[in-house]
């Protein structure tokens, strides 16, 4: 018979001697957490409802467009047009996701727990911004990928797939532009208040209130003002950049109303870059202040 | 000291706050359950774990909240919705928005006017002086520290010179100096004949301000009175003393022979004695030590503090 044995294991406090990962890893962790948060992952079931409703709608639209094209052969919308036609969904998604990403943290007072860790005060907003850009890009890009796959399977030969790919890439770039502009505006507004309802209202309001400005400017009796009107509102600004850079992909209906940019296409592009840069600068300034508080 | 001059000024008449069978429930939740007590002049501490019903009790005393059953009366008159009572009673609640854009003086003055005092200016000045806030009285409350805000609110509660002052966690957020100051203030107000009841979780401080306590546990009044007396009433708890002497071992042997002693533990730092009969042991110890020629250097009661009394009451 073996000797009875016994042992008491040490389950007291253990010091940690393993690796402590650097700034890039910490940034990545915060970024991934942000992307998940935008889609309500790791959150309550209630937080998942809206993001996935929007995801469902865009995917359904993409599926319908693909089906129509493969069955009837008619192209309902191009890849680039997809982003344009989904603009209101993007705005709503931003209005829900941005406050979820930053207002909630302001409200709960959790920020001191972040800023007392090896994370610079710029990393926090940048990781959140990148997360929101990614989420919006996925929202607009994934359906385009569905459309592409549908088209690629029904096209004849590699040549057709190549042509589709050449159409898809500008569409994805355009989606990236949408994502960058909307995310930076949305996150900046949301970072100003801890109340999620206020933040969401503020984001929708900015997009909503600037639309009439465009309307007024475009009927002024001055051609330059008409041609520059689109700059006044983020959605028309982004569309302007699109029309300037990829006119053929965005305007497929020869009888439709075409925004007239005149010679100001580059101004639109510059304005878009300036807008994003300004939002990011203000966002960083905001968090420099928050971190020291 | 300016505080004591006005605070210890003999009060015209003292007041008694009486609670008879007071209960308060919210739906099925019973916050206060059949509490009867009588509070006279002097300082009393109101103790209890979180959620024991202290704040509800204070609000009923102040007449802000109606008891679901029973009566709260000040000198025989019910406090609930009785404007006469408001003139003789002040309440400093735990969390209360102070108007940060006012100065302390303005805030206290506004309170004085609300009470329709005949000379609100001098009443406000007197109350501000009582809490020693004259130096900062013309700065906006928004610039104050927590302790200064708290003192401002005490001044507002005192502006109409009430006979009864109720305070919910008055020391919260105060720094050491402000705490000492507030303790002295409560002391002097109590010595001046006012009836003061304050709640606190910091038992060392309660012990310093007042030996008289009311202990709430889960809505019930678990004990009232002098905490040392309350301790003596707990006859099922042996009294623990730490003793150091010139010959601990000899003293231990001698003490074991005493019927009042339940157990003696000999440690490196002296003796720990468990005595069943407090009176008999504390009388016997000096004689036993002298008889054996042992010199006692230290005799310290280990579980006689308010802290131990409180934990015994809550555990029971």
């Amino acid at each position: 018979m073996p000797e009875p044995t016994g042992v008491i294991h040490d389950i007291g406090y253990q010091r940690y001697t393993g690796p402590r990962l650097g700034r890039r890893y910490v940034f990545g962790a915060l970024y991934l957490h942000g992307v998940r948060t935008a889609f309500g992952l790791g959150r309550s079931a209630k937080a998942k409802i809206f993001p996935w409703l929007v995801v469902g709608i865009v995917l359904m639209v993409a599926a319908a467009v693909t089906a129509i094209r493969s069955q009837i052969g008619e192209t309902v919308m191009t890849y680039a047009q997809f982003a344009d036609s989904m603009s209101w969904l993007v705005i709503f998604f931003t209005a829900v996701a941005a406050p979820e990403l930053v207002s909630r943290d302001l409200r709960s007072g959790v920020l001191p727990l972040y800023f007392s860790r090896p994370l610079s005060h710029a990393d926090y907003p940048l990781a959140k911004l990148l997360a929101l850009v990614t989420a919006l890009f996925l929202l607009l890009g994934a359906p385009q990928l569905v459309m592409f796959l549908g088209a690629a399977f029904t096209s004849d030969g590699m040549g057709g797939v190549w042509d589709e790919l050449l159409d898809l890439l500008p569409g994805l770039l355009y989606a990236g532009l949408w994502a960058a502009v909307f995310a930076s505006i949305g996150l900046l507004i949301a970072s100003l208040t801890g109340k999620r309802a206020f933040a969401a209202g503020g984001i929708v309001a900015v997009f909503l209130m600037t639309t009439p400005v465009v309307g007024v400017l475009s009927i002024l009796p001055a051609q330059a003002a008409n041609q520059l009107a689109g700059i006044a509102s983020p959605p028309t600004l982004v569309q302007g950049v699109g029309v300037w850079t990829m006119r053929d992909l965005l305007i497929t209906d020869p009888d439709g109303v075409v925004p007239d940019l005149g010679p100001f296409g580059p101004v639109y592009a510059l304005a878009a870059v300036a807008l994003v840069a300004a939002c990011v600068t203000l966002l960083l300034a905001r968090y420099r202040k928050v971190a020291a508080r | 000291m300016t505080t004591t001059d006005s605070a210890t000024r003999p009060a015209t008449a003292t007041s008694t706050l009486d609670l008879a069978g007071v209960s308060r429930w919210y739906g099925n939740v019973v916050a206060v359950n059949d509490v009867s007590m009588s509070l006279g002049p002097g300082v009393t501490g109101l103790l209890g774990p979180n959620g024991a019903g202290k704040t509800t009790l204070l609000h009923m005393m102040a007449g802000f909240l109606a008891p679901s059953r029973g009566t709260v009366s000040l000198d025989g008159r019910s406090t609930w919705r009785n404007p006469e009572v408001y003139r003789r009673l002040g309440l400093v609640s735990e969390r209360e928005a102070v108007h940060t854009f006012l100065t302390a003086y303005e805030f206290v003055l506004a309170t004085a006017k609300l009470h329709k005092l005949p000379d609100p200016q001098s009443a406000a000045r007197r109350a501000v002086a009582l809490v020693e806030m004259e130096d900062a009285q013309d700065r906006r409350i928004g610039t104050y520290s927590k302790g200064m805000r708290q003192r401002t609110r005490v001044a507002a509660a005192l502006v109409h010179d009430p006979q009864v002052l109720l305070l919910d966690e008055p020391f919260n957020g105060m720094d050491p100096r402000q705490r000492l100051h507030m303790m002295e203030l409560l002391h002097s107000l109590g010595d001046g004949g006012r009836t003061i009841l304050f709640s606190s979780h910091i038992l060392e401080e309660v012990e310093q301000v007042s030996g008289t306590v009311q202990v709430m546990v889960a809505g019930r009044l678990a004990a009232s009175g002098d905490f040392r007396t309350i301790r003596r009433l707990m006859t099922n708890r042996p009294h623990v003393f730490a003793i150091r002497s010139t010959d601990d071992r000899a003293l231990a042997v001698a003490l074991m022979a005493e019927p009042s002693v339940g157990g003696v533990e000999l440690g490196r730092d002296g003796l720990t004695v468990r005595a069943g009969d407090y009176g008999a042991f504390t009388r016997a110890l000096p004689k036993v030590a002298l008889a054996r020629g042992v010199r006692v250097h230290q005799l310290v009661p280990e579980d006689e503090s308010l802290e131990s009394v409180f934990s015994y009451l809550v555990e029971a």
Binding site: G12, Y13, Q14, Y16, G18, R20, L21, G22, R23, V26, A29, G42, S44, R104, D105, S108, G109, V110, P112, L113, Y114, S116, R117, P118, L119, S120, A292 | G48, P49, N50, D135, A136, R139, S145, G173, D175, P176, R177, Q178, R179, L180, H201, I202, E204, R228, Y278, T282, R283, L285, P286, L290, R295, V296, L299, V300, P301, E304, E307, F310, S311
Partner: protein, 304 residues
């Protein structure tokens, strides 16, 4: 190694408010109490320690590093528990502490394991998978402590850790802090307004008053025995006072205590003899000690 060292540390805010003025102090590892009359200096010092603020003048070192230069390195080795509410109500304690562990640089699986361990050590068990919003004050304080502990810091900064706790909760929290300082081997800086608390758990004390150093010393040195004996009898205080006075002992009074100067060993016998003769119940006989509170006992009329 010195835990915290400052040299003429001064912080003046934009509005001209001086929160810290010429603070020079060196603190050894252990449990350190930080007490301040007037809160501004205390929170400013914490922010300077974490590199959230830069000093206006002077130098500061934490664990041998300068937090204004090696900010990330300092923060990786420091854990901070804020005074105020800082927990998102919809997350569970386990999720939150794991996430914050990763933000401190712990690899994913390590963060999960250490979060679970940290929560166990602070005394949170099955409830750690429920949303924090439903926790009691005591449980929230424990979660705040666990998140400061998850990455195994060498220094913990605890800002009013017993704030809002009832007596039982305070007791448990103080015992926990003491265990962290001794058993876990982690140095702790405890900010507190409660001197009794500091006296109970700390080895050393740094007292700041109006931004200036009031005193930095071992608690033991601040609570040395005086040569006065405190005598308390549960009845017959007057009779004993009279008897001691008759023995030519200069008796003082403080509340229920009789204070007798300790001339020599004979004083003990005289007192014990007097008590025995009068057949009084002796409640306490003890050499008086200095108290930390004496630091603040001298009141200043203006504290702006």
């Amino acid at each position: 190694m010195t835990l915290i060292a400052t040299e003429s540390l001064t912080k003046v805010y934009g509005g001209g408010v001086t929160a810290l003025s010429e603070l020079t102090v060196a603190v050894e590892p252990g449990i350190v109490g930080l007490v301040g009359a007037n809160g501004a200096g205390k929170s400013t010092l914490i922010k300077l320690l974490l590199g959230l603020l830069t000093p206006t003048r002077g130098r500061i070192q934490v664990l041998g590093l300068d937090p204004t230069v090696d900010t990330a390195a300092v923060r990786a080795r420091v854990g901070y528990m804020p005074e105020h509410d800082c927990l998102p109500p919809d997350l569970s304690a386990a999720e939150l502490v794991t996430h914050l562990g990763r933000i401190s640089g712990l690899p994913r699986t390590v963060a999960r394991e250490r979060a679970s361990e940290a929560l166990r050590h602070v005394g949170l068990h099955e409830e750690r998978h429920r949303p924090v919003g439903g926790y009691s004050t005591g449980m929230k304080q424990r979660v705040k402590l666990a998140q400061a502990l998850v990455h195994d810091p060498d220094l913990l900064l605890l800002d009013e850790p017993t704030n809002g706790l009832d007596p039982a909760g305070r007791d448990a929290m103080l015992a926990l802090v003491q265990r962290i300082g001794t058993e876990f081997g982690i140095s702790v800086l405890v900010c507190s307004h409660l001197l009794g608390e500091v006296e109970r758990i700390c080895d050393t004390l740094v007292a700041i008053d109006g931004g200036r150093l009031l005193r930095a010393d071992h608690i033991a040195a601040m609570t040395t025995a005086t040569d006065v004996l405190a005598v308390e009898v549960s009845e017959g205080t007057e009779a004993l006072a009279a008897r001691l006075a008759a023995l030519d002992l200069p008796v003082g009074r403080e509340g229920r205590l009789l204070l007798v100067p300790l001339a020599d060993q004979g004083t003990y016998d005289q007192i014990l003899g007097a008590v025995a003769e009068l057949d009084l119940p002796l409640h306490r006989l003890d050499q008086r000690r200095h108290r930390v509170a004496e630091l603040f006992a001298r009141r200043e009329s203006s504290h702006a």
